[in-house]
């Protein structure tokens, strides 16, 4: 009998294209859930959020809520998002699945950087730094460095 077991490999960072693909999958399904929740909840269909200054807050909470709904269970159990699970990637610290608090720091940094383009021109440089650092040979983006994590490829091992 052959059992397939997952295990992270130290010193073998995930390929950049695989990380980008996983992030793309996460972005698409998270955005899809945000849109669905927006439409079902009717949050922005009424006048109040446009008048009481809660528009950005509500939108942010919807994004965070959608992210946690979709990825929370995978992050808790195996330090993976849905996209990373599909593509066999894992977020690690010291060759171990990253603890939850680091994953939240990482997600917070990533979401903040994603929101920066709507915040203002000077801060957009940070978004650029995030991407440029990721493109360096080390492949560690700003949000990786801020949270002390890295993304590695999982391999299947026969037992």
């Amino acid at each position: 009998m052959t059992e397939v077991q997952s295990q992270s490999l130290s010193g073998q960072p995930a390929a950049k294209m695989r990380r980008i693909a996983a992030t793309g999958i996460d972005a698409i399904i998270t955005a899809g859930l945000v849109v669905l929740l927006t439409l079902v909840s009717g949050q922005f269909e009424v006048a109040a959020p446009y008048l009481d200054g809660t528009l950005v807050l509500r939108a942010t909470l919807l994004v965070i809520g959608s992210y946690l709904l979709l990825h929370g269970i995978f992050l808790l159990r195996s330090a993976q998002t849905l996209g990373k699970k599909i593509l066999g990637l894992q977020i690690v610290t010291d060759n171990q699945a990253a603890p939850f608090w680091r994953l939240m720091v990482r997600a917070g940094a990533l979401l903040s950087l994603a929101f920066i383009p709507v915040v203002g021109y000077p801060l957009q440089a940070l978004h650029l730094v995030d991407i440029l650092l990721f493109l360096l040979p080390a492949g560690l983006a700003l949000h990786d460095r801020l949270s002390g994590t890295e993304v590695v490829r999982l391999v299947a091992r026969s037992v």
Binding site: T38, L39, V40, G42, Q43, F44, E45, V46, A47, A48, Y50, L51
Partner: protein, 539 residues
């Protein structure tokens, strides 16, 4: 350091401190108002909205001696939207920073400041009740507030809305212990969000007991409640009818016991009968006496300015031809003696004359191309002695309505009885080298016995002769000013002149310069001019 040097330093510092303290006291603690003799008490200068100021002493012979007396920097933004009223000794003005301020008319020094719940969006109106002089106004969050003119203390505040998106932009009017409040809506702008289910608010006029703030009646411009008219993306509902806001001061016809007002466009389909209409309500009950629509099927909101295929843009896409100028109840000498007539200016650049008894149109006169920022935009003025209505035309090139007609911005003097144009004074183009500059008269003018004052989106303020339109005085307000309340953070700058226009009181002229709401040049300068007696030539 010698003892003498220390003494000199001590006295110098003490002197500086004393001087600073004196200056601060002067700036913030000018004595409280004493006069309750209101010389300019409402947006329209009287209950008929004639914008005629009989106490103004400025005329064609002395207007050249008008000099800038003081400038006050208005806090809170670059689109001040209030309109002052004045007593013998004080000028009252609202700001975007939610302040109602009483100023000394002579010096601009601050007598008192009252903090409102939100930005003051409307002009001010005075009312006298129980030996108390009150100032009323509407705010950006839909409140109506009553404040003592002498002390600046609040008497009452009420939420005048029956819909979250409603707010008040038209100046309330006071008559016989009742405050009549026009109600508009922000839905016209909220509809820009494609996620918004447009639209569910309706324009209205509400009457409040001026002593207590208790609502007496409310009449919507559209009688039918909005209903769901469609659904998109499975969940988002479209609603209608909606809109027809009232964003200008109502007019009181005491003789017929009616309240007159003009309304704006529908925000969503189906089109209603209440949009782009002049309506007369019973003063006591709010019941509709008559209503006459001048542009049918006018469905528009600001989603249409983003893209005509925007899900919230009605398929009619305008033409957005509101009545933003309050109807004027004018008098003229008719064949059977003195006669009343309603004069209504529309953004289509048409002026309509209406029988106040029946609402039937008597004549219409086209004086320009029109556009969604006017045509006749914010108001008109009259000189009944000369039998003239003064209708400014904006017709700015930036806001067309698809007409092939050439823009014709300027001031038009129209014979009240016949509708014939007696004279016209085109605008002069001062926009060379100025960004955000537009060429047109959008703001409401004001008249006195000899002159009519009108101001342009290019920041120029003009005095025209009332009888023939000749320019007799001009002033360019598009610049920085030194303000009496200037600080490192607060400076006064002029720009486009829009909305409520100038105010005349005795030998003074007041104007707010700067209005940046729709792409015009913003600013925050309240300018006070005064005749200079020493410069006046002998008669």
């Amino acid at each position: 350091m010698s003892r003498n040097t220390i003494c000199y330093l001590f006295y110098a510092i003490a002197g500086l401190l004393a001087l600073t303290a004196t200056q601060l006291a002067w700036a913030a603690n000018c004595e409280a108002p004493k006069s309750t003799e209101f010389l300019a008490a409402s947006w329209g200068q009287d209950h008929r909205n004639t914008r005629y100021q009989p106490n103004s002493t400025i005329n064609a012979r002395n207007v050249e001696t008008l000099e800038l007396a003081w400038v006050f920097a208005l806090e809170g933004g670059q689109a001040p939207h209030s309109y002052p009223i004045a007593t013998k000794d004080s000028l009252y003005i609202g700001t975007q920073a939610s302040k109602l301020i009483a100023l000394d008319r002579a010096s601009g020094c601050t007598r008192w400041t009252y903090s409102s719940a939100d930005s003051i969006r409307t002009g001010l109106v005075h009312g006298r009740l129980n030996q108390q002089d009150l100032i009323f106004f509407g705010t950006g969050n839909g409140d109506v507030e009553a404040v003592s003119a002498l002390s600046g203390e609040q008497l009452w505040s009420v939420d005048a809305r029956d819909h979250d998106a409603q707010f008040i932009t038209g100046t309330p009017v006071f008559h016989d212990g009742v405050l009549y409040v026009p109600i508009s809506s922000r839905e016209v702008a909220i509809a820009i969000s494609p996620l918004y289910g447009c639209c569910t608010s309706r324009g209205a006029v509400a009457a409040f007991d001026a002593a207590t703030g208790q609502q007496l009646w409310r009449t919507h411009t559209i009688a039918d409640e909005p209903e769901v008219t469609g659904r998109r993306w499975l969940f988002i509902e479209s609603w209608g009818p909606s809109g027809a806001p009232v964003w200008s001061a109502p007019t009181i016809d005491i003789k017929r016991n009616t309240l007159l007002f003009g309304s704006g466009e529908n925000y969503s389909a189906p089109a209603s009968q209440g949009s782009d209409a002049i309506t007369a309500l019973d003063l006591r009950t709010g019941a509709k006496r008559w209503s006459q629509q001048y542009t049918a099927s006018d469905n528009f909101n600001m989603a249409c300015t983003v893209n005509k295929n925007h899900p919230n843009c009605p398929k009619e896409n305008g033409p957005d031809l509101d009545f933003g100028a309050p109807p004027v109840l004018a008098r003229f000498d008719g064949p059977r003696g003195p006669q009343d007539i309603i004069l209504a200016g529309q953004k289509s650049a048409e002026v309509h004359a209406i029988d106040p008894e029946t609402g039937v149109k008597l004549w219409s006169r086209n004086i320009g191309r029109g556009g969604y920022l006017g045509g006749v935009h914010w108001g008109m003025a009259t000189n009944e002695t000369l039998g003239l209505l003064y209708a400014p035309v904006s017709d700015i090139r930036q806001a067309p309505i698809g007409s092939t007609q050439e823009p014709a911005p300027g001031m038009y003097a129209i014979d009240i009885a016949t509708g014939q144009v007696r004279w016209q004074t085109p605008t002069e183009d001062h926009c060379a080298g100025r960004e955000r500059c537009m060429n047109g008269f959008s703001a409401a003018p004001i008249a006195n016995a000899d002159l009519v004052f009108v101001a342009g989106l290019d920041g120029w303020l003009h005095a025209l002769r009332a009888d023939n339109g000749a320019r007799v005085w001009d002033f360019d307000t598009w610049r920085e000013f030194s303000a009496v309340n200037e600080t490192d953070e607060l400076k006064a700058s002029g720009g486009s002149i829009d909305v409520h226009g100038p105010l005349l009181v005795e030998d003074q002229l007041f104007i707010q310069s700067g209005y940046g709401s729709f792409g015009q040049q913003g600013g925050n300068a309240l300018l006070a001019f005064r005749l200079t007696p020493s410069k006046q030539s002998n008669p």
